[in-house]
Symmetry: C3
Subunit: 321 residues, 3 copies
């Protein structure tokens, strides 16, 4: 059931980065390089179900300072499916509670011969700080509201699987834009590949200033809906909000939830994405979440493929340096 | 130290289930199929100490919503000894705390290319619900007070190793029957294989209605003791009880604890089982727990063998479908 | 990337122990045996970065009852780099909370076919108790303030890499001696190999009674500093102290912190060790921690090598018995 390593060749010359910190700094060629590698890994492993040995002997460490099952598990599985070992560090029970600095913790992990540190932290820029201090590779798994590059990549991969070309598509990010690292990573990636991006939500969650990133701002989903090829329904992150940004969940759902009625007014082949975990009945009704336009579970599988591609690329680039 | 895969053949034709949800629905042939497979794995691996590669490339996920060291570890080890990867999901830190439904969490796990979900949940029927919703295999590791099929199987395997035939044996389940999924799984399995089963304990923990399952009900251990071939001493599950079911631990121990005096009045070759963790001095005194009639630690080793057999069978059946 | 097993030969005849409980009982030959094996593993694996298969099919279990990231991870990685499986048991969520005794928990783990139990517990002697009760190997990863043998060994290994011979060196252990298992393990190991050991700190943390172990006691770092070849700066373990052993952190740092001024009065080739996690600005200033005399991160890498050596030796000795 194991795949021949020789099927996976050298990492492409266009990829020279030993870290993946964000999508903002990636060129279109680099984005396509990751996306193509992810497709290759997905195909070579029967939908990410089989195991390779391209990273045999390597160790990837998850250094997560925010709760996560999905992303943490996806990275751990991606590492193992490449033949690497995966290690979990959690904030609780760690040396940080004994007064050690964050950088010292990371340097200690690196000194144990770790090849890749996958980091999630509520402070924007944390992965960038680590990348400056460590010789091993650093992958950003979410730095506060800043970036979540593998989420952006898996969203784009999923669109690309169904539409081939990103150029010319209209993609709307709907909902909680202000707290969303997923929105930022999607915007950088989608724009770079030629898509038109709309951010849409209540004005308390979507500032006019987003226009500075070259995206269209809308406060009315029903207005933009007929133009959209793709909807990406961002989760209302109740846990990040100190004040209520809208009068009630019911009112939010009335104005922005994707439901059967709205679907009837959308393009026939509209794609519905959601980064999950989804709040059924808030951003999306169950019939739409489980309907034929929804690619939510494909996103999960593609997440594994993207993380396999990213770990392979950053390890390869680091070896070459 | 690795075993040749060719030693382990195809899964037997009698086994067609891709899930193991309970022992109630298993035929005698299916029960014997699991038990024989477990014996084969135990022998092929030097008492479950060595590693096979029959499930290489597969991934088994533990989805436990109740505290467990023993069963969770036993399943993880069983998966690894078959060459599979084992992943742990815990209730805390998971997406459930972000408002995701249980089924969505499970479907997300499945979309990561998981082959078997091993689930423990306090709600009876949870594994059955998952089995309806998922394409991967589901193994019940305990659903509230309903069933704990691998525990029942390992108890029966241990008896069978010492007595060959279950038919004709008298097996007493002693103690906290009402809260016990272990009791239910034992009853279904033992009855199907022809044993006579007695449930015995204080009337607050043993209802007359158990007779409807075809078992004998007793409130007096000393009465039934001379007839018993096997005693399975169920743990008093203090953590599941909101009211005290008996006046004092001392009184319980006086009436139901297996101790030296009672052992003297039992058959010479009586077998003492306990699913553990044991409360020394409550269900069993230390001299009996550590004595020659006790097979408590053999049960632990057999648990590993049973779980290897179950994971192998459900994966094989799933492949064949 | 995998190393040929044949490169690693038989375990040396001098090593006959199936447990590592402390350094107090080890002869100089046994200490050198572990240190040499660690150097061999470090070299054979490119600085502990590559994977061997000398313990393929074996399983090492971490049974930690005190918070630890560093040591727990180091043992888990060491096991995996030798090709073994590593399992984690934590105190929370375990059967101990259901009333099981510590020995029963350990015997259950052993019955699952575990080869080595690595134990950390706040009670001195816990690993020794386990070693009496279990047939598998037991490694002490810290028993209260008593011993932490792999920490002592990695400290000594680091000194030996830079100075070849321990005999004739003067090594000062500075700081929180009274709560320190690291101090005890260092003292036994260093003395046995011929080093002169000084313990130095405030009188509330360093008793005169340490002289009974054959070490020099000092309350004034500046007095002894010019004579020292090595300083091992023990962490002030705020979490183990119920009363404040000194007026203020600032006062402690003034008298005992290793800083630029003190470094200027020390031997040119002084080595600065710290078992970590370090409190920057308390035991050590950042410029010294990150300076050329500091070998703090080498200690982390050597910790992995020492643990690989120890797991290999105790497993080999257990097989031979």
């Amino acid at each position: 059931m194991s795949i021949d390593v020789s099927e996976i060749g050298e990492i492409p010359a266009v990829w020279t980065r030993r870290h993946l910190l964000g999508l903002e700094e990636l060129s279109a060629e680099e984005l396509v390089c990751v996306l193509d590698a992810a497709v290759m890994f997905k195909e070579a492993t029967g939908g990410c179900r089989q195991k390779l040995s391209v990273l045999a002997g390597r160790t990837c460490a998850n250094l997560f300072f925010e709760a996560s099952t999905r992303t943490r598990t996806s990275f751990a599985l991606a590492a193992r499916r490449l033949g690497a070992d995966a290690l979990d560090f959690s904030a609780s029970g760690s040396s940080l509670s004994k007064g050690e600095t964050f950088i010292d913790t990371a340097k200690n992990i690196e000194a144990m011969g770790i090849d890749v540190v996958v980091v999630r932290h509520r402070t924007p820029g944390t992965p960038h700080l680590l990348a400056q201090q460590l010789d091993c590779s650093v992958v950003n798994a979410g730095d506060g509201p800043h970036e979540h590059p593998t989420q952006g990549l898996l969203d784009i991969m999923t669109i690309r699987e169904h539409r081939r070309e990103l150029a010319g598509l209209t993609v709307a990010l709907v909902g909680d834009i202000s707290h969303s690292r997923t929105a930022r990573s999607n915007i950088w990636g989608l724009k770079r590949l030629g898509a038109h991006v709309i951010v849409c939500g209540p004005s308390t969650l979507v500032s006019r200033r987003w226009e500075e990133l070259g995206v269209e701002v809308s406060y009315n989903l029903d207005d933009i809906l007929p133009r959209c090829d793709v909807l990406n329904l961002l989760r209302i992150q109740f846990e990040r909000q100190s004040t209520r940004p809208f009068p009630s969940v019911r009112e939010y759902a009335h104005l922005y939830a994707m439901n059967r009625e709205r679907l009837a007014r959308a393009k026939d082949d509209i794609m519905i994405l959601a980064p999950g975990p989804i709040n059924r009945g808030v951003e999306i009704t169950p019939d739409v979440a489980d309907g034929p336009q929804s690619v939510i579970l494909e996103q999960v599988t593609n997440g594994l493929a993207i993380r396999m591609a990213v770990l392979w690329l950053v390890c390869g680039a680091n070896l070459r340096l």
